[in-house]
Amino acid sequence: MKLFLKIWRQKDGNTKGKMVDYTLDGVESDMSFLEMLDILNEELIAKGEVPIEFDHDCREGICGTCSLMINGRPHGPDSRITVCQLHMRSFNDGDTIVIEPWRAKAFPVIKDLVVDRSSFDRIQQAGGFISVNTSGRPVDANAIPIEKEMADKSFNAATCIGCGACVAACKNASAMLFTSAKVSQFALLPQGQVEAADRVMNMVRQMDLEGFGNCTNTGACEVECPKGISLENIARMNREYLSASIKG
């Protein structure tokens, strides 16, 4: 198939970027979206042009690095997938595809389609952990009984891969779904209770400092999350935060 691509090109974080048109022929429907970009890059390199920079790593839907806004939706038109899992069969011959980086003040563009998501790391570092002493004789994890329902909910929250699609999809560039998943995965477990109040206060404070927007409860994040993280986590974080604030 023949595709008309409109791709964001930006030399670096200090240079103004622009949309550039490319035409790519010979794309096959069983190629992944990233393979399609690989082929375009090979053509650009053969012509002596600078290839398009884009993030990718595992190419199996786990790492969350392939952050592309495709035709106005994070990770493209299909649901519950990352870009590496998107295949060209989701497009038609002659389609125009608009490809942009995540747009958020807290995710500055490094080059072309690559953004700096270290703001997520800083939120995680602010409280997304439990403090335990480790030794050569760790206590058996099964020694602490955990309700099955709680363990499942915690695990579901922990499946967040920190890709940033929630921020990209949100009209306010809010990071509430990411932060709430990281708060919830500990809040639901007994091991997370000791530092629960400090955790939620510090992670929300860091989220605000990074310049993310506010949550309007549109639910766009939940729809676009490749791991199906639920809005229930945001409500849980709100409860945790209110409770921690009132208790001081």
Binding site: E100, G211, F212, N214, C215, M237
Partner: protein
Amino acid sequence: MSGLIKSSLARKVVMALSGLFLVIFLVLHVTINLASVISPEFFNEASHFMGYNPIVQFLMQPILIAGVIVHFVMGFVLEFQNRAARNVRYAKFNGGANAPWVSRNMIYSGLVVLAFLGLHFYDFWIHEMAYKYVEANPEDPTRYYAETVEKFAPMWRTVLYVVSFVLLSLHLWHGFASSFQTMGVNNKYTPAIKSFTKLFSVVVPLAFAFIAIYHHLNPITH
């Protein structure tokens, strides 16, 4: 508590609580307004009570006005922050693919309702304040029904009111249930809250619109 005042979550809580407070006020308002259709005598009595009872006038009314101001000022603050959070816009953004229109355009439905409140204050509140405190007219418990019906004589005012009620409906459609999510309520009752929100956001504005149209079509003939 200081963290609560500064944080994005706290601003959302202020938005949710002031919104829920205004929802309760709407129930009171529409109930009294419906009396103007069913029983003009009762409407006059209720309006006179609301207009001259010191607790209503000097405690509840200022709280209500404060609630309105807090809600729209915080709405603007959040909107400005949200716009700043995406300093470079997308060339193509398909917001309709993952979120309903009403939830993405609360600022616009809210602005229409705010503009309507300006007209509504001009029509009734300023008139009432002038009548009581500037002109210092004597109490007249029988004037309210006629004054209300007379307001809806012009077609333009009736149309403006009805259009505003449609936008109020859209605002409530998202806002009412959303306030519960902001307050941390997302559990087995959430489907019921969402269903009640839809019912409420249709029935209450529809009742307001019905009252305006009813009085427009049934003027008092002297």
